[in-house]
Subunit: 200 residues, 2 copies
């Protein structure tokens, strides 16, 4: 029966792939991308090195999967639920606390973004596009607020978007270096700085 | 004569050390810290590998020197000349443009700060202290402005300092990924957001 093959060690099931990607994420986060090895990832996923190579040819492919997963899971879906900047502060507080549960991943993200700014880095296109899309998405939100007279005078939606992006990255970098530091309060202060509020 | 020895290949002159540190900075910036090698650094400095080892025992020692130099040269001295936030915007514009002349070094700084958040990284203490001192220095400045009624209502000097630090790091990260992006405009907007101005 065909099933015997599907159950074998090289079965390309989505579940198996997901396990490997999780193992890769943990390995990258703990050791850093450069020092992580396919052997370690295979071990964490409970498969052989050859088994892993059947699913992913190299570390770069795994990196792309790890990043794409973080995107879809944690950020894009959540932000899509924020339809006005009133909901932005609570959403950001929640997002940051969620990221703080995995400091290694937070560190990895910043480290990789910086490394990927080298044009020959395997994740260069990913990060350049990702950052540009992030800014465009924020700018769109700030345009809406500006149209409602809510964006503070003297700041363009584009500039607000660049600053907002900078604040999120910069706060996470400070926090991985000092995990006692409160960064949720400052991010809420920043939203208040950007928005004119009649009611506060 | 004693001079013969001082001129030899192992002369521990400050000039020779400075040359090696410059070579290390260039090598780290181009290749990243992990991939940079003592051999490459020695070659750039025009000395032998053994000659280099006479001055610095390993890459970590060189890293400490490179970071300390960037500190004293480019940041601390400049900021000490800013005695009120009126001068902050022009100073920041100048500082950012100065850093933009060496994108590789800018990238290296962020990459290392993130990597150094691992407590076993050779530069961990350096970056943790450096960031804490940076925030304390900014907070002091914002306290002065708050006392003059210039800091915008609803933001504490400490929170302003954390945000300010975040903005500087985050903008640089965005810029190394997209060197067409204007980050001087946004940083000036940010200073305006933080400060209440009667005259603007």
């Amino acid at each position: 029966m065909g099933e015997a093959k599907a159950r074998g060690p090289y079965a390309k099931t989505p579940a198996r792939r997901a396990e490997i990607v999780r193992a890769a994420r943990d390995s990258f986060a703990e050791r850093g991308y450069v020092k992580a090895s396919l052997r370690d990832i295979a071990e964490r996923a409970g498969i052989t090195h050859a088994g892993l190579l059947h699913h992913f040819r190299n570390k770069d492919e795994l990196l792309a999967e790890v990043l794409a997963e973080r995107d879809s899971e944690e950020w894009q879906q959540g932000l899509a639920q924020v339809d006005s900047l009133d909901q932005l502060s609570p959403y950001l507080g929640e997002l940051i606390r969620h990221h703080q549960k995995a400091p290694e991943l937070m560190r990895l993200w910043i480290e990789l973004a910086a490394a990927a700014s080298r044009s020959d880095h395997p994740a260069h296109t990913y990060f350049a596009d990702r950052y540009e899309r992030g800014r465009a998405q924020f700018a769109e939100g700030f345009h809406d607020e500006a149209a409602r007279g809510r964006l503070r005078e003297g700041v363009s939606p584009e500039s607000a978007a660049v600053l907002f992006h900078a604040v999120l990255n910069g706060l996470q970098l400070q926090w991985v270096l000092d995990q006692e530091l409160d960064i949720v309060g400052p991010v809420k202060d920043f939203v208040r700085l950007l928005l004119e509020r009649g009611d506060s």
